[in-house]
Symmetry: C2
Subunit: 408 residues, 2 copies
């Protein structure tokens, strides 16, 4: 007996933004439905629906409860999944639309950012048996108590991955408005090349470093359960980028991509007394102010005083500065300096684990281009430099060329 | 111990049409919430929401499945109930929004016009115990299999009555844009008087005879379980009209109201052979064409041929004429005549059961006004006359005066 293939497809809000786009997506979906292929589709709310609903809620209540917000916002995906199922049936294919609770997406009780416990496969398998294409409302689930929850920004990605895990899908396709993951942003570097594949770890670095294609949590889940992801465009049939556990090439290439982030601001707390527990005091204060710190650098101290620098999102700079000034006074540190004129450039690649000298090559390339490095941070598979904001485009280009990313 | 009062309120789509109206309704709701009063509210979709969703569906599919339509349309009430719960909480009152399935409105599987089997009272009682105002999404329920259903046009009325039954509410208030039930349409007769009360039976006759205030099915359910209804305006605090099992006056008044319907057309099948089963043949044919017949008159036959007249909604006249012509030929009857220039005027009153001579007084009043009666039909508590369309306004006025309805 021939093995039946199972695919999960996820379409974002811009892919289903109006009646015509919904019909176009339906055409694509049915082109994948063959006798030996089961198709389950996860769909986001039509573009703008969620924002419109939030706007209404804000008119009515200053601080709406998370529970009622979830009840409200989950309707967006319920609408798009019902409409998409109608569009699929209109093309002559059996289909069934299912909400989060109907498909059995069980979550914890954290409204607005619920975590998925499990997805029931019974309803899906029954529908597949009946030859139906299943259209599932993304972004939502239900608690044991029957409360509707939502999974947070980008939650439909997570719905798709959790569904793919439940039905042991062969692949989970993520449809977006780009054709895949690129070695760097093609708007900055025209020679940027679409990657055939990338590892989960690399993708996680890319995502957290500014390449906003997929929600990070859903990549983590896909990695944990080894569900191959295929990021591709809903506007073309072109193959996109596979996100996989291990690259298929025998030898990893050293660097897979270059990313940048212009949304950083730098804070330096000067003349910090070099005592145990001092950094903890500073970063506790920053965290309490609700600020996400990104890169942290503390210089090795030869005197009894040291400078501590870190970056925060530009929007959070005022909050962060206030907290930093307060804690600086408390611990007897000096001035608090800051700059909005910084940016981060990073290189990412699983191959760094086994290749030596990558960092040196990166610094060399930046130096040759006359770009000064203000801070450096590294992870196992990435190296980031904080540089002047007006140099970041040049830095990305230079690094892309240095590591021959246009050559593949 | 003092008995706790329980009230159910139902607000229609125009009462919650925008953020400001939702806030106004919330103010009204909390004014009823006292320590010794439990309040459950059933809400319809914000005006236009349902029509907008239908318009989207029609763009996508010629003949959308009822199941997916229910999934789609039920979002309208889910949105309004979430928003209304937020608005209530904003005023400092605890509240909880519940969808049809969360409140346990169990229905049969007839999508688009499901019948309510039962309403669970557990969730509601729990919320009352916690001092919460409960806001329920109207118009919707769920089947045993977890399928979302809707209850048909006016279904939120039915939700409210079924809820009131489940929690043994003391009263079920139906909020509309009119201040109550009138002796006749105040736009036609300025002296029309708001009724303090009306019986279920009278209201059912009024509803089916053209007074479009409440869905007939929900009145039937309220009658069966003897749930007092209070029809009133969401724009004022004025008392409306109570709909009750038995009028509180010891003696029924003969006539409670006058209604009219200008949406009728008359068909006459001439020279029908007077044989057993002939009428059945005609009306089976009309029914098969999907036409609702209203008044039927068959004259007693002195010859072997008779004329059969009946009325149908104007919109269904073409279908009805086609079916009538076909069946007329088949049974050997004569010409099929029709007129769009007719209307119905009716008087309604439980008192007719015990008062004699009501019909005679009606005919007399019409005769005095020079109005010719084309057809007559009676029920236990109503008398209807089909008259010329251009005479109907005069007829309503004349009858309203004849039965002294402005006097109360």
């Amino acid at each position: 007996m021939k093995k039946t293939k199972t695919i999960v497809q996820k379409y974002g809000g811009s892919s289903v933004k109006d009646a015509d786009r919904i019909k176009a997506v339906a055409e694509r979906i049915v082109s994948y439905k063959k006798n030996d292929t089961n198709v389950a589709v996860v769909v986001s709310a039509m573009a703008d629906t969620t924002d419109d609903l939030i706007e209404l809620a804000v008119k009515i209540a200053k601080d709406p409860t998370d529970r009622e917000m979830d009840l409200l916002l989950s309707t967006g995906e319920q609408i798009s999944c019902a409409l998409l199922a109608m569009a699929v049936r209109e093309l002559g294919f059996e289909s069934v639309a299912l909400t989060g609770f109907q498909v059995g997406v069980l979550t914890n009780k954290e409204h607005g950012k619920a975590r998925v416990h499990s997805v029931d496969d019974k309803r899906l398998k029954k529908a597949f048996k009946e030859g139906k294409i299943v259209i599932v409302a993304g972004y939502q689930g239900i608690t044991e108590d029957g409360e509707i929850t939502t999974l947070g920004r980008g939650g439909s990605d997570l719905s798709a991955v959790a569904l793919a895990k439940a039905i042991r899908a062969d692949v989970c396709e993520i449809y977006t408005d780009v054709t895949g993951i690129y070695t760097t942003d093609p708007r900055m570097v025209p020679e940027a090349r679409k990657l055939k594949e990338i590892t989960f770890d690399e993708m996680l670095e890319m995502a957290s470093l500014g390449a906003q294609v997929m929600q990070a949590r859903s990549i983590e889940v896909a990695k944990r359960f080894n569900i191959p992801l295929h990021v591709r465009s809903s506007y073309s049939k072109e193959e996109g980028t596979m996100i996989v556990k291990t690259a298929s090439k025998i030898e990893d290439i050293a660097v897979t991509g270059v990313t940048s982030n212009k949304n950083e601001a730098k804070i330096t707390v000067c003349a910090v007394p070099d005592q145990p527990g001092i950094s903890a005091k500073i970063f506790n204060a920053i965290a309490k102010a609700g600020v996400n710190v990104d890169v942290i650098v503390q210089n090795v101290s030869h005197t009894r005083k040291t400078d501590i620098s870190f970056t925060v999102p530009k929007a959070e700079l005022p909050k962060a500065l206030e907290a930093a000034a307060e804690v600086s006074a408390k611990i007897g540190a000096g001035e608090v300096l800051h700059s909005r004129e910084v940016a981060r450039v990073s290189i990412v690649g699983s191959g760094m684990r086994s290749h030596q000298g990558i960092a040196a090559r990166m610094f060399e390339a930046l130096a040759q281009a006359g770009i000064n490095i203000e801070m450096i941070a590294t992870s196992e598979i990435s190296i980031s430099c904080i540089i002047a904001l007006d140099k970041v485009d040049a830095a990305v280009k230079v690094l892309h060329r240095k590591f021959a990313l246009d050559k593949g």
